[in-house]
Point group: C2
Chain length 228, copies 2
């Protein structure tokens, strides 16, 4: 029997993705789970679902940064967000595809996350990315050349489309078996699920979701996503 | 010196508002804080900030209900969401204004929240609301008449506008002094703040927020909220 796996969907744009990446390895090791890391373009998820990201609602960005600063202090690590945010995450995401970073994929992801969210690096800058790769002893020239290739660009798009087809609407998202979890605050629920102690009553929740919609906002109906 | 107060902003549409309402009283009592409850129209917050609510992104609603079912089981109470959702929350919110429910405001809010999210009641139904008020020994006829008055309707609008002017972008939101917290997962941070042990470094976060934006999505720029 092949081992169980956990699919982790992330974009460097999200500090919550970083926070959960810091913990998900230990969790996977504890339950003998293979961790598959999927870089996806958060902006494309937002486009697809018609949603705004936290950094696109000014007071939400403020609340988010404050939350992150408190969270990091309480968890004993440094919070120092990217030099500019939002930024173009495509080069960083492409470097994080397994096809580009190979066996070092997880190390590359850890290093980029840490540079961005604990060291205030500019993750849109190729020189910065080259420095991160060099520090890991990787061939930054070859890797930065690889991410210019059309097949690599297409691969990131495919990862993103694939995530959307699995109902991923935000990052970090986690899929185990067919169960989707979303957000850094769900690690406790994920652990219970992995233990076989998931408190969820799936049939009951299915019935709750089948209850009808009452009233919908005009803006919501206009955007045409109110078809569930 | 007048006692400190905590302003709690909520809409019955949100299960997270219910979850935090279940805990916020104890927290306020522990630190001798006056709890001011402010009903606001979540749909109007979404309109203002150009955002979608969780129930407006179909897979997010599914993830939300599953999260809530697990959360409630782990916290030992019943999760049984409203008979239809979303629904028109205006009558329920107007009944929850202090001007309408007076000294019984908190009891009314608790009873409506519980009926909606633990008993599956239809919170848009006036008969249901009347039953909730009757059970509390209140004059449901007079209260349901009061919420038809123009001044009461205006008052809920004012509460909502006031919340927006204080940067409230979602529910539940909590404002203590001038500090805004958002979400049921921030109760731990709120408690540290009330203790005088807030780990936040406000000046540092201010400096982080002043870092410039790199790239913005076209949809975001088009909506014209990218002016921070």
């Amino acid at each position: 029997m092949s081992p169980r796996s956990l699919n982790f969907y992330f974009d460097y744009i999200s500090p919550y993705a970083y926070f959960s990446w810091r913990k998900i390895h230990t969790l996977c090791e504890r339950y003998d789970i293979v961790l598959n890391a999927h870089p996806v373009v958060f902006g494309k998820l937002l486009d697809h679902w018609g949603q705004l990201g936290p950094a696109e609602v000014p007071p939400k960005k403020t609340a988010l940064y404050k939350y992150c600063d408190r969270y990091a202090k309480l968890h004993g690590f440094e919070f120092n967000p990217p030099a500019c945010h939002p930024y173009n995450p495509l080069p960083a995401l492409r470097l994080s595809l397994q096809k580009v970073s190979g066996a070092e994929q997880h190390a590359v992801i850890s290093a980029i996350f840490e540079a961005g969210w604990s060291k205030g690096a500019d993750l849109s800058c190729r020189d910065t990315l080259a420095g991160i790769l060099d520090n890991l002893g990787l061939d930054s020239v070859a890797m930065l050349a690889a991410i210019e290739r059309a097949d690599i660009k297409a691969l990131l798009q495919e990862e993103t489309s694939q995530a959307i087809s699995c109902d991923v609407f935000g990052v970090p998202a986690f899929i185990i078996d067919d169960e989707l979890f979303w957000g850094n605050d769900q690690l406790e629920h994920i652990e219970l699920y992995l233990q076989g102690n998931d408190p969820l009553d799936p049939e009951r929740v299915e019935a709750m979701l089948a209850r009808h919609r009452g009233i919908d906002r005009k803006t919501f109906l206009k955007r045409g996503t109110g078809t569930d």
